[in-house]
Each structure stands twice: as structure tokens, then as C-alpha cells.
Amino acid sequence: MAIVYKRPHALTDEVFHYCPGCTHGIIHRLIAETIDELEIEGCTVGIAPVGCAVRAYDFFSCDMVQAAHGRAPAVATGLKRARPENIIFTYQGDGDLAAIGMAETVHAATRGENITVIFVNNAIYGMTGGQMAPTSLPGQVTQTTPYGRDTNSAGYPIRVCELLSTLDGVALAQRVTVDSVRNVRIAKKAIKKAFENQIKGLGFSIVEVVSSCPTNWGMAPNDALKWLQDNMLPYYPLGVYKDISEGGENK
């Protein structure tokens, strides 16, 4: 009997520690499938962030480095400059990438650093228990915005793909989500392209995955996905913001 679905080789046997309904597991799998399909596990080095995904170093079978909060693109730069033949990816959340690590993100992007960035945007700090993120929506209740995010004092959310798409060094900036089978497939294609771009030497590729955090949003998994569809997607429209690859929308 032919096997049509199995655990990707690029994932270890370690059991995910993620909460029920969290989308990190799906995203990890899509990255691992990509690594398998491109046959690059032996030359790939992943960078785990600070946050819920910190233990990504236990979950991926490729070599892994754990970076300080926000510094993953700088660590990736060092790894890539030292071994340009290797494939380097970072896996970062919204606090990591868009708050404490915004300088590292923007400058790695504008240098056209030939790396792949997987950005998980769930509009909250998950690991520390649900504080406001740079991507928390206006009015969103979090532990540190108990009366809802007041844009007068806490400012506005950052749309990362839109912002980075203005930079010349960026090869791909695409926002996806994994709330349905159809969208998981689109997300997989985007992630694969982000790795293929690096193999081709096209520059900085970022895939933003709009995600849910049922635990810290205080919702059941299905309700969280519904909230994502009703509230996050209007603020963070899915789509390709920049793509210089062959057949891409802007060359």
C-alpha cells in the first residue's frame, strides 16, 4: 500500500508542546515538508526565536540555533555569511520580529540577506501569557491592554509585509493563513517559494502567517479561527506584497 501521508523527516519525534488549536504545529509541518521536498535537510540551519516556538530547535531535524529575542535575522546573517552554501531560516513571532527585533528585521531585509523568514503573527505575546503585541488589533483586549488597545496611547498595529515590501532587498513578502485546507495549501506554496528563492540567491523572503492563539485570546480553537477570519484578516489582508521571482507579480 502506498503511503500518502506521514511525518516529514525534517521533524523529529519530539512531541509538540503547543496548546490545543495553536497553528504553530501546522506551520512547523509545512516547513518540514518543504525541507523534505527540496532535499535540503543536510544543509539547512534553522533559528529558533524567543517565545512559544523557542523549542523549535527540538522539533526540526536540521541543525538549529536558538537566538536572543528579536536577533534571529542577525544570527541568520552570521550563519549565512559564514556558510553561504547553507540554507538558513528563522522562525519568529510578532513580538520577536516586529517589536524587539524590528531593526534586525528591516536591516536584514534591506541588505537583501539571502535568508528565509517565517513570521507567525497571532497578535499577542503567547509565551509570557498574553500581552499586547505590535500587531495586536485596535481595541483588542490583552493582559497589558485590559480595556482594549487604545490607539491614542498604545499606537497602531504594524503591517509587516506592507512595510517590508517597500525595500529593494526583499525578494518575497507574502501574507498567508492556515485557517482552512485551501489556505494551508497556499501557505505551503508560499513557504516553498521562500526557500526556493534562497536556493536561487534572490534575497530576503518573508512569509507572514496570520495565526491564532486560543489560549491567550481566551477562546475555543474554532472560535479563535472565526475571530481570526472576522478581525485579523480585514486588518491584515492575505496576498503577495512583493515577489521578484519568475512569474512573480512585480519583477
Partner: protein, 353 residues
């Protein structure tokens, strides 16, 4: 024998690092270390190396971490305020057991301080280059030739003990020129790094470079193991120079730029018949405790001279442990003490013993 050339301190450091096989430099502009980065920017592209001007000191040290994790010799250089920013990454380097070379061309502080030479980062370098229980190797050259030699040693010992190493100098040493002989490139061999995150090539289990231990017992055990290594280093890697210490009544303890001033003061004191000598630490961590303790019987008093409000003097007092009086003289804020000022201190102490 290799040719003797006249070089500026900062440039000699850069050239020595290249000779030692370093091909990856990540930095951020700051006075008074500028010439080092500029030299790297000029040289690295011509020898297939990487010079990268980072967006910040934080980014630069984390690029060093990435390159070191990938298994190559990597370095950064900065001056005092910039080193403060790098301390985050230095703590991670230590926690990940990664070697790296960090140069601190010290200037006056705190805050933006000034841009003149200073030795006021001693505490930071030897006690707290970041959060957590750890040490880094700290070397203090006093001549340009010694800078060159210590670059090699810092890379070699950093590799041997898998830990970050710092060369701590100051704006005076960085900016001055002296003749140097550069060692042959073959003098140092970059060892294999089977632990590196350089791609497992489907031949070994994955390597993980990490400093996170959620289990407190594991973290404690990791720190205990690391400190066993530190104890070994304290036993074998203390380095210092002794000047006229065998019969000295008054022993000066000074390093780097201030030791050059003290060398003249010791000569002037000897000319007057005062038995002065000097212990010049070359490693600040590990601190040359053994040599100081060896001189406790013969010496009548110690005088620590620094370009700070008094930082290394703490370590001298710990080594002397109350056995003899320990005096301090310092100038700070970018002022270099003069030989007559130091001589005056020697005379004062001599009058009281």
C-alpha cells in the same frame, strides 16, 4: 624572520586577526576603534572575507554569534558604550559555549562619557559582560606587539575552552603607533568544530546551539560544569609581567596604558633609591592572583594605578586579602596619569612604611 612594520594599534589588531584566520568581522562605528573597522572594510573583500557594518551593536554581536555557531572564527570591535549593547550577545555566546573575539577600545564613561582613553570598563569586562553566571577571557596588552600576539592567543584559547575572549585596551593604545612583527599565518590552526551548526549533511544527528534549560537542575549542572572549566583556566592561564618585584618594597599593579606610565615611575623611584616594582596583569580574567600572592612576603605595600575611579584594585585587595596595605591612585574621564604623579604616590607610601 618576518619584517618589522610601523602600525597603529587598531590596525595592528585587525591585521593580526586576519593573520589568525579570522575572515568574518561584524561591527558598528564608534570612536576610538574606527581604524580597526575601516581596515577590515578595506582588507576583507580582497581576501574573500566578510566585513559587515551592522545596524547596531546588538546586531553585530549576534552576527558574530551566528558565524561562530556556523564554525568559523568571528570577531567584533567597539568601544565602551557599544560594548554595553553587546553584553546581551556575549552572555548568549557564553551560554552557548561559543568562541568569539571582542575588542574593547575603552573610552571614558559612564553614559556617552568622552572619547579619550580610559580603563573604566574593568568591572564590566571581568565581572559582568552580560547577565548570568559566566566569565570570559580578558587580555590587556600594553604594546602594539603584545596586541598582535594576544589576538592569536585570544582566538586559540577561545577555541580551546569554547568561550568568548575580549582584548581590553584603550583609546591611547588603539591610536598610537609602534613597530610590530606580524606572526606567520601558520602559527595558529583553527580546530575542527564538530559541535557547529553547519548542516548535518545527513551524516550525524542535528547539532543544537542553545542556552535555554527549562529544567533548573539541568541549568545548574551546566553552570557547574562551565565553572569547573573556569577553575582549570584560573590554574593554567594566568599571565602577567613582573618588573623589579623580587626585592621591591612597593609593588605597583597596573595594566595596559597606565602600566606604561608606571614603568617610568618605577624607574624614577629606583633612581632615588626607593625599591619599587610592578606586576602588570596581561590576563585580567583569569586575574594573576598567584603572582601577587607570591610577592606578599617580600612586599611591604601595593599600589594599584588605573585610569578609573578604582576597579581592578578590588581584585588586588582580594588577592592580598588583608596581608599588606593596598593603595590606589587613579585618573579618570579620559585623563592619563603622568609619571611624576605616580612617583609622588610611591614617595608618599615609602614615607609611611
Amino acid at each position: 624572520m618576518a619584517e618589522k612594520v610601523l602600525m597603529k594599534g587598531n590596525e595592528a589588531l585587525a591585521e593580526a586577526a586576519i593573520c589568525a584566520g579570522c575572515r568574518h568581522f561584524f561591527g558598528y562605528p564608534i570612536t576610538p576603534q574606527t581604524e580597526l573597522a575601516a581596515y577590515m572594510a578595506k582588507k576583507m573583500p580582497k581576501i574573500g572575507g566578510t566585513y559587515l557594518q551592522a545596524e547596531s551593536e546588538l546586531a553585530a554581536i549576534n552576527m558574530v554569534l551566528g558565524a561562530s555557531a556556523a564554525g568559523v572564527r568571528a570577531m567584533t570591535s567597539s568601544s565602551s558604550p557599544g560594548i554595553s549593547l553587546k553584553t546581551e550577545g556575549i552572555s548568549y555566546l557564553a551560554g552557548c559555549d561559543l568562541p568569539a573575539l571582542i575588542i574593547n577600545v575603552q573610552r571614558g564613561g559612564p553614559g556617552l562619557g568622552g572619547i579619550q582613553p580610559s580603563q573604566s570598563d574593568y568591572w564590566q569586562a571581568t565581572k559582568a559582560t552580560g547577565h548570568g553566571d559566566f566569565q570570559i577571557l580578558v587580555f590587556a596588552p600594553s604594546t602594539i606587539q603584545e596586541m598582535v600576539d594576544l589576538v592569536f592567543l585570544a582566538f586559540d584559547l577561545g577555541d580551546k575552552y569554547r568561550m568568548p575572549a575580549m582584548i581590553l585596551l584603550d583609546g591611547m593604545l588603539g591610536q598610537m603607533m609602534e613597530p610590530v612583527v606580524l606572526p606567520e599565518a601558520g602559527k595558529t590552526v583553527v580546530p575542527d568544530r564538530p559541535w557547529a551548526a553547519d548542516g548535518h549533511k545527513n551524516k550525524r544527528p542535528h547539532n543544537i546551539i542553545n542556552s535555554l534549560y527549562l529544567d533548573p537542575l539541568k541549568l545548574e549542572q551546566t553552570n557547574i560544569e562551565r565553572f569547573k572549566r573556569y577553575e582549570k583556566i584560573k590554574g593554567t592561564e594566568q599571565r602577567c609581567e613582573e618588573l623589579h618585584t623580587e626585592d621591591a618594597d612597593i609593588i605597583i599593579v597596573a595594566y595596559g596604558a597606565s602600566s606604561r606610565v608606571c614603568r617610568n615611575a618605577v624607574a624614577a623611584a629606583r633612581a632615588q633609591g626607593i625599591k619599587a616594582g610592578m606586576i602588570r596583569p596581561i590576563t585580567l580574567w583569569p586575574f594573576p592572583v598567584d603572582t601577587i600572592q607570591k610577592r606578599l612576603v617580600s612586599a611591604k605595600a601595593f599600589l594599584t594605578v588605573e585610569m578609573s575611579m578604582g576597579q581592578m584594585v578590588d581584585d588586588v585587595r582580594l588577592a592580598v586579602n588583608g596581608a599588606k596595605p593596598v593603595h590606589f591612585f587613579g585618573r579618570t574621564g579620559g585623563i592619563i596619569p603622568s609619571p611624576p604623579e605616580v612617583l609622588e604616590q610611591i614617595e608618599l607610601i615609602n614615607g609611611g612604611i
